[in-house]
Symmetry: C2
Subunit: 199 residues, 2 copies
């Protein structure tokens, strides 16, 4: 077991993971959304896809036992454990510069899109685009009238999701820097999170 | 008012639309799903995005008055009218060769991904990727337990959606060739549909 790797608050981090290894994504302080992407390490144009995964798992939120698919409908990540209350999101795009401008921010604001690309560059890779992310710990309830909203997480400090890599892949995370909506807790204080890759 | 253009059964069709023009998408025979894409005509890497639109309209299904956004969060299509019961889908990827292989089809099966690209090529354009489509008339209910399923349409013959172009764009359609799941009606018989572009 390796030491936990820090996903710094408001920043991105990526790492290579071999097929069969597991990745534990830890919500260290309990209210931090972690945008998560996975790419085929041999061809970054193949990546985990929310719209292909939903058609396969037949849920808007994956549960333990579900396998996420790539945009070529191949298995890429399986949910093995989830101690975070089972609340995640597959519906929302990564936040980006346009989103913060819309929310009234003047000038630059950290954002998950830039964090993805910075995290990938840090290990010498270029993500070809910004796929719709798997937003771990993110609470977007779908109401019977089909409306959705940005709510505070229900996860608790130290809760985690354990994923298994179904191919050799690159996994990328962003500790979401959203501090305007309550998506990272009502205090609006983004924090670090951690992950552990194990054989 | 121009004559209706046919989207042939199991096939794709695309056309250029100027900002401010309207597009009426007609479910001619009542049970046909029409996968719909829109691209910025001046830069095809900017296109209508389900994940960015959901974050803006705060619904999983757009209703009259809602404006869909591009992957750069700019307005691209607005719902002006909907006589089709308000049931559409933003959750599911376009069907593709991998999907039909998974469903047990041997050999080639028409699919919405190929239809998108064929329709674009027919007017001299190349779609840079296959964005997650706006699946008009497609019935994917979301249950309180977060499960989803492929159901028959609730639309009726001649029902339609009227959209307004918010930028100069290319709109592409696929009359979905799905004949295994009941998504185009329980009879599993994909049909043609039609559209009309008006000033």
């Amino acid at each position: 077991m390796t030491d936990p790797v820090t996903i710094p608050a408001r920043r991105g981090k990526a790492t290579r993971v071999a097929k069969g290894q597991t990745i534990k994504v830890i919500n260290t302080h309990g209210e931090q959304v972690v945008d998560t992407w996975a790419f085929n390490v041999d061809d970054l144009t193949e990546f985990m896809s929310m719209e292909h995964s939903r058609a396969h798992i037949l849920k808007v939120i994956p549960v333990v036992g579900d396998t996420m698919l790539t945009n070529r409908r191949r298995p890429i990540l399986t949910f093995l454990e989830d101690t975070a209350g089972g609340v995640h999101d597959t519906l929302m795009a990564a936040c980006d510069k346009h989103r913060y401008k819309f929310l009234g921010v003047e000038g630059y604001h950290d954002n998950c899109e830039d964090n993805l690309h910075a995290g990938m560059r840090e290990i010498g890779l270029n993500a070809p685009e910004t796929p719709s992310p798997l937003n771990l710990f993110m609470n977007i309830p779908v109401q019977p009238d089909r409306t959705i909203s940005f709510e505070a997480p229900v996860s608790t400090p130290g809760s985690y999701v354990l994923l298994r890599a179904e191919m050799d892949l690159v996994i990328a995370f962003s500790a979401c820097p959203q501090d305007i909506l309550p998506i990272n807790g009502k205090a609006g204080q983004p924090t670090e999170a951690h992950f552990v890759v194990a054989p």
